[in-house]
C-alpha cells in the first residue's frame, strides 16, 4: 500500500484524538511519526502506532498529561512529563529550549517520567528555522550488553546532532549506539537469513548469527562489536546517553528503563520515573556569522562528497540517505508493508477513523 504523507498525518492525528489526546498533542504525534516514515525510518513511524495505543490502554501513557517545566537555571530545565508520550514531551521541551536559546544562545532540558519519543531527528531539527543546532538523546528498553558484559543493561540509546545548512542541505547524524538496531534482526528473520557476527550475543555472551537470538534471552552488542574493535566506545556512548537522559533528570536508568511493549511490565523497584530524554540547542550565530558557517559547511559537504570512494560506493553526508528518501516519498507517497497496513485497518475500524 502507498499512502500520502498528508493522509498518513491526518490519520495518525485523528487516532490520537480519538484516544483522548488534545488536538495540539495529537498533531505533534502525527508530525513526529509521519516524519519518520517520510525519512525511511520505518521502524520509528506509523509501524509503532498500535504499540503506542496499547501503552495508552494499559495506562502507561497519559493522554492528558500536566507536563511541568522547572526552570532550574537560566539555560536549564528539568521536565516532569507526567507520563506523556515522549513524542509530545520531547517536542515541548525542545520548544522551551528554543525559546530560551533566543535569549541566551543555548538551552538544555532533562525530561523524566516520559515514554518512547520516536525518531530523535525530529526533535533535533526543531530549531532549524532559527539556525539553531539541535541535540537529542533518549534512553530505551534494555537490549544491549555493556563491554565485557552478558546482561541487557542499556537500550539502543540514540544520539542525534542536527546542524542546519543552507539550501536545505543539513547535517543530521541520528544513530543508535549499538552496532545494529533491533529492526535489522527482524529483517533477517523475515528473509530467513543469518545475521553477521558482531551484532548480537546469546544468553551466555557468545556471538550469535541467529536472528531470533533476542527472543532467546540474547542481547545486542554496542557499536564496535568486540574488544578488538572498540566496543568499549559504543558502550561508553550508550552509557553517556543513559546517564544524561535518565540519571540526571530522575528517570529509570539502565536495566530499569521501561519496555516499549505493553505486555512487559516495567521492572519493580525502579530507581526513577519512566523513560528519560535529553534535548537542547545552540544558536549557530554564537560561534560565528551564520552566513560564514553556512558557506563553510557547504564547502565541507562538497569536499567530502568529492573524496575518493571505494569502488562502486559513494561517500555520503550523515542524513543524506534519509533526505533522498524524503524527497521521493513526498512526491510518490509512503509505502506501508502489509503487516503494518493490516494493523492500521484494525485501528481504523476499532476507533472509527477513516483510512483511505
Amino acid at each position: 500500500m502507498i499512502i500520502t504523507h498528508q493522509e498518513l498525518h491526518r490519520f495518525i492525528s485523528d487516532v490520537f484524538e480519538k484516544k483522548g489526546m488534545s488536538h495540539e498533542h495529537a498533531v505533534i504525534c502525527a508530525d513526529v511519526l509521519s516524519f519518520a516514515d517520510l525519512r525511511g525510518i520505518d521502524s520509528h513511524g506509523v509501524a509503532r502506532l498500535s504499540g503506542y495505543l496499547r501503552l495508552i490502554d494499559s495506562g502507561r501513557i497519559n493522554v492528558n498529561p500536566n507536563i511541568k517545566f522547572e526552570r532550574r537555571k537560566k539555560t536549564q530545565i528539568r521536565v516532569n512529563a507526567d507520563g506523556a508520550i515522549g513524542l509530545v514531551s520531547a517536542h515541548l521541551a525542545m520548544q522551551e529550549c528554543i525559546n530560551i536559546t533566543h535569549d541566551y544562545g543555548t538551552a538544555w532540558a532533562g525530561i523524566y517520567n516520559s515514554n518512547h519519543f520516536g525518531v530523535a531527528a525530529h526533535h533535533a531539527i526543531q530549531g532549524f528555522s532559527h539556525n539553531f543546532i539541535g541535540f537529542a538523546m533518549t534512553n530505551a528498553s534494555p537490549l544491549v550488553v555493556p563491554a565485557n558484559g552478558v546482561e541487557r543493561m542499556l537500550g539502543t540509546n540514540p544520539i542525534c546532532v542536527a546542524i542546519p545548512g543552507k539550501n536545505g542541505k543539513s547535517f543530521i547524524l541520528d544513530m543508535a549506539t549499538s552496532t545494529a538496531a533491533n529492526g535489522k534482526l527482524e529483517i533477517a528473520q523475515r528473509q530467513k537469513k543469518e545475521i553477521p557476527n558482531g551484532w548480537a550475543v546469546d544468553a551466555l555472551g557468545n556471538s550469535s548469527t541467529d536472528p531470533h537470538v533476542l527472543g532467546q534471552k540474547g542481547a545486542l552488542l554496542p557499536l564496535g562489536s568486540d574488544a578488538e574493535h572498540g566496543f568499549h566506545k559504543g558502550y561508553g556512548l550508550s552509557a553517556w546517553v543513559d546517564i544524561f537522559s535518565a540519571v540526571l533528570p530522575g528517570a529509570s536508568w539502565g536495566p530499569w528503563a521501561p519496555p516499549f511493549v505493553s505486555f512487559l511490565q516495567p521492572k519493580a523497584e525502579a530507581p526513577g520515573k519512566g523513560l528519560g530524554h535529553f534535548v537542547g540547542c545552540w544558536d549557530m550565530e554564537g560561534f560565528n556569522d551564520v552566513s560564514e558557517i553556512h558557506d563553510q559547511l557547504d564547502d565541507w559537504m562538497t569536499r567530502f562528497k568529492a573524496s575518493s570512494p571505494l569502488e562502486n560506493h559513494e561517500v555520503l553526508i550523515p542524513g543524506e540517505p534519509e533526505a533522498r528518501i524524503q524527497a521521493s516519498r513526498i512526491e510518490n507517497g509512503i509505502p506501508i508493508v502489509e503487516e503494518v497496513w493490516r494493523d492500521l485497518m484494525n485501528i481504523s475500524v476499532e476507533l472509527n477513523v477513516t483510512l483511505k
Copy 2:
C-alpha cells in the same frame, strides 16, 4: 625509568618557560601533559613534548599568543587562539565557560587558530569542583577514511564527556572516533605483530593487517570498521567533531587539519585557521539537586559493576581503567619508555633544564 608526577610536571613547565612561554601558560601545559601520563594515556603525555617543541621552533606554535575571546551570545564564545598551543587555548576557553556557567547554567566555546590540545579529559574535568559536567572535542590531522571512502579526510577526532560523581568516582568517557588510534599500530610495530582486520586500510581501501600501513599511504577506519558493523556511525561521530571544532569557529577542517608533526607542512589553500576545538559545560544542579544526581550516579555505577561479566572479564565504568592507573602512578611514579626518556634527556641538555 620511573619519574614522580611532581618532577615530571616541574620539568615540563621549566621546558616551556625556557622556550619563551609565560609561567602561567607553561604550568597549564605541564598540568595537561603530566595528567595524561598519570592516567596512563602515554601517547598524549610527555612523549609528545619534543613534538610540541619542534612546532614552536618551526613557528607554528606561538608561545606568546594574544588569545581573543569574542562573547557572541550570553553563553557562547568564539576564541581566536592566535596560534597558541591547544593545551593552553582549550584550558583558558574552558575556564571562561566555567565562569559563564556560574551565571547561566551552561556555556560553550568554539576555538580556532589553535594547535594540538592534548588529552581531552583534562579540559572536560576542569569544572568538576563546581559539579559542572564537561565536554571537549578537537579535530586532528587527517588519518581516517569516511565510511565508503579511501581518502584520509578526518582525524581520530576525540569526544570527551566528563560527569563528576561523589567520592571522586566520576564518569569520564574520552574516546577517539576511529576503531583504533595510531598508538595501537605503533605498539604492534614494536612487537612485530599484525594488526586485526578492521583497524586500517591500504591506499586502495583494502583492509590491511600491516602495522606499517599508515606509512604506506594507508588510513585508519572509523569506529564500526566496516559497513556491516556500522562504520557510518563512527564516521558520523568524527564528522560531528570536525564540524563543531573547525567549521563552526573557522579552523581548518577535514583534510586541511594541520598535521601534528612539524616536518609536514599544513596543506595550502586551507579553508580556515589552524586546528579547532569545541569545549563547554553544564551545571549539574540545573537538571536536579546535585546530591540526588550523585546518589543516582553512584547507584548506576554500582549496578553496572555488578552486572554479569563475560567469563574472566569485568564490566568497567568509562574512565575507571585510567583512574586505577592514576592511583598507582601517584603512589609509584610514572614509567617512561627508553625512547621517550632519551628524548627528554636531549631536551634537558639542549635547554639546560634539570631532569632528575
